[in-house]
C-alpha cells in the first residue's frame, strides 16, 4: 500500500482540473455545435432565421434496429412563420458512421436538402457524397422512400437517386439514412397532428 495516497491525491487534483476546464468550456462547445448545425440548415432553408426544438419526443428505429431519439427543429422565418423542419440522422457508411442533417419543407411533402455533418468515406470516391452533384438530387425529392439507381439522370428531381460511380455503398448508405428517417418521422408527426394529414 506504499504511496497509495499519492495516487488518490493526484486523481483528485486531475479530476478537479478537468472538471473546471469542462465547466468553463462546455457552454462554448455546445454553442459551437448549435452554430454549426444552424449554419448548415440555413444553407438548406435560406428563409430560416430561428430554430425551435420540438417538445414532443420523436423516436425512430435505426437501420441497425436500435430505437433512437431524434431532436426535430422547427425552422422559423423572420416573420415568425414555419418555413421547414430539420433533424439529424446517422447510419453506417463505407468506412465509418455518416451523420447527415436533413431539412424538409413545412408540410413534410418534399426534402429541402441534405448536408453531411460528419463522415469518413474514401477520399476521391465516397466522400463525393458531400458534393453538390450528388447532394443536389435530394433537393426537392419527395419525402418518402427513395431508391438508388446506378444509371439515370441526375438533373431530374424524383425519388430516384443516381449513385456516385465507384462509391455505390456510400451512395446507398445516404439514401437509406434519408429514406428510413424521413418516412418514420413523417408518420409520427402526422400521428401527433403536428403536420396535416391531407395535402392543402
Amino acid at each position: 500500500m506504499q504511496q497509495s495516497w499519492l495516487l488518490i491525491v493526484a486523481s483528485f487534483c486531475f479530476g478537479l482540473l478537468i472538471a473546471v476546464t469542462n465547466a468553463a468550456l462546455s457552454p462554448k462547445i455546445r454553442q459551437n455545435e448549435i452554430n454549426k448545425r444552424n449554419r448548415m440548415v440555413t444553407i438548406l432553408l435560406p428563409e430560416a432565421k430561428d430554430f425551435i426544438l420540438l417538445d414532443e419526443p420523436v423516436e425512430i428505429k435505426s437501420l441497425q434496429g436500435r430505437i433512437e431519439k431524434v431532436e426535430i427543429y422547427k425552422a422559423m422565418s423572420m416573420a415568425g412563420e414555419c418555413v421547414g423542419w430539420s433533424f439529424e440522422a446517422t447510419g453506417s457508411g463505407f468506412a465509418d458512421k455518416i451523420k447527415l442533417v436533413i431539412a424538409l419543407d413545412k408540410n413534410f411533402e418534399s426534402i429541402a436538402g441534405i448536408n453531411v455533418l460528419a463522415s469518413n468515406e474514401t477520399p476521391g470516391f465516397g466522400d463525393q457524397i458531400k458534393y453538390d452533384y450528388y447532394r443536389g438530387q435530394f433537393k426537392g425529392a419527395p419525402a418518402g422512400e427513395l431508391k438508388l439507381v446506378t444509371i439515370g439522370e441526375r438533373g431530374k428531381i424524383d425519388s430516384e437517386i443516381v449513385a456516385i460511380s465507384g462509391a455505390t455503398i456510400s451512395s446507398e448508405a445516404v439514401v437509406e439514412i434519408v429514406s428510413n428517417s424521413v418516412t418514420q418521422i413523417k408518420e409520427q408527426m402526422r400521428k401527433k397532428g403536428i403536420i396535416g394529414n391531407d395535402k392543402q
Binding site: L6, F14, L25, I29
Partner: protein
C-alpha cells in the same frame, strides 16, 4: 569549460536531440499512429503537433516535479493518469476554440493518451531529470514530432491536391495546368509510402561510413 557552459551545452544537446538525433518519428519510430493517420493535410498535422507539444510539456513538468515521490510499482499508473488528464484538457480546448479541426482529427486527439512519445519521455527523461531539462526535452521532442508530421503532410497534401496548407501551388489539369491529383496520396496508402521513403532517406543520410 566553466560550470555554466557545461549546463548550457547540455540544454542545447537535449533540445537538438529531439529535433534530429533522437527525432521521435524518424529515429525512435514512436507515435506512428498519428503520424500515419492525420497527415493527409498540413493543417490537421500541425494541430496534432501542437496538441502533442502541449501535453508533452505539461506531463513532463508534473512528472519531473513528483519524480522523487514515485515508487516503481506506481510509476506507469501515475504517468498515464497525468497524460490522460492533460489530453482531456487539450481535447476540450480544441473543441471549444477549433471545432472544425477537432472534428477532422476525431478520435486521434483522445488517442494522444496512448502516444508512446509522451510516456517514453516521462519514463526516459522527466522521471530522472530536473524541471528545466524536462521542459527543454519536451519542447525538443514535441517540435521534432510536429516538424516531421508537417513535412510528411506537405508532401502528401501537395501530391493529393496540389496545395500546401490549403494554398494552391500546382495548377490542376482541369484549370488548364499540368497537375493531376493523386488521390491515393490522401489515403492511408499515401501515408505508408511517404513515411517509408522518408525513413529510408533518413537512414541513408545517417548511415555510418564504415
Amino acid at each position: 569549460m566553466t560550470n555554466s557552459n557545461v549546463k548550457t551545452a547540455r540544454y542545447w544537446q537535449t533540445l537538438l536531440a529531439g529535433l534530429w538525433r533522437e527525432n521521435p518519428t524518424l529515429r525512435l519510430l514512436l507515435g506512428m499512429c498519428p503520424t500515419l493517420a492525420v497527415t493527409a493535410a498540413v493543417k490537421p498535422a500541425l494541430t496534432m503537433g501542437c496538441c502533442v507539444i502541449f501535453v508533452l510539456i505539461c506531463s513532463n513538468i508534473i512528472v519531473s516535479l513528483m519524480r522523487n515521490l514515485l515508487k516503481p510499482h506506481l510509476r506507469i499508473l501515475m504517468f498515464t493518469l497525468t497524460i490522460a488528464a492533460f489530453v482531456t484538457i487539450a481535447d476540450l480546448l480544441l473543441k471549444a476554440f477549433q471545432p472544425e479541426m477537432s472534428e477532422t482529427l476525431g478520435p486521434y486527439v483522445p488517442l494522444i493518451i496512448v502516444n508512446c512519445i509522451i510516456i517514453c519521455r516521462a519514463e526516459a527523461c522527466a522521471s530522472k531529470n530536473g524541471l528545466v531539462i524536462s521542459i527543454i526535452d519536451a519542447v525538443g521532442m514535441g517540435v521534432g514530432f510536429t516538424l516531421t508530421l508537417c513535412v510528411l503532410a506537405s508532401i502528401r497534401e501537395l501530391l493529393a491536391t496540389g496545395a500546401i496548407f490549403e494554398i494552391q501551388i500546382l495548377t490542376l489539369a482541369k484549370d488548364g495546368g499540368w497537375f493531376v491529383q493523386w488521390a491515393a496520396m490522401g489515403m492511408p496508402v499515401g501515408a505508408f509510402l511517404t513515411l517509408g521513403l522518408m525513413l529510408g532517406l533518413v537512414n541513408i543520410v545517417t548511415r555510418k561510413k564504415s
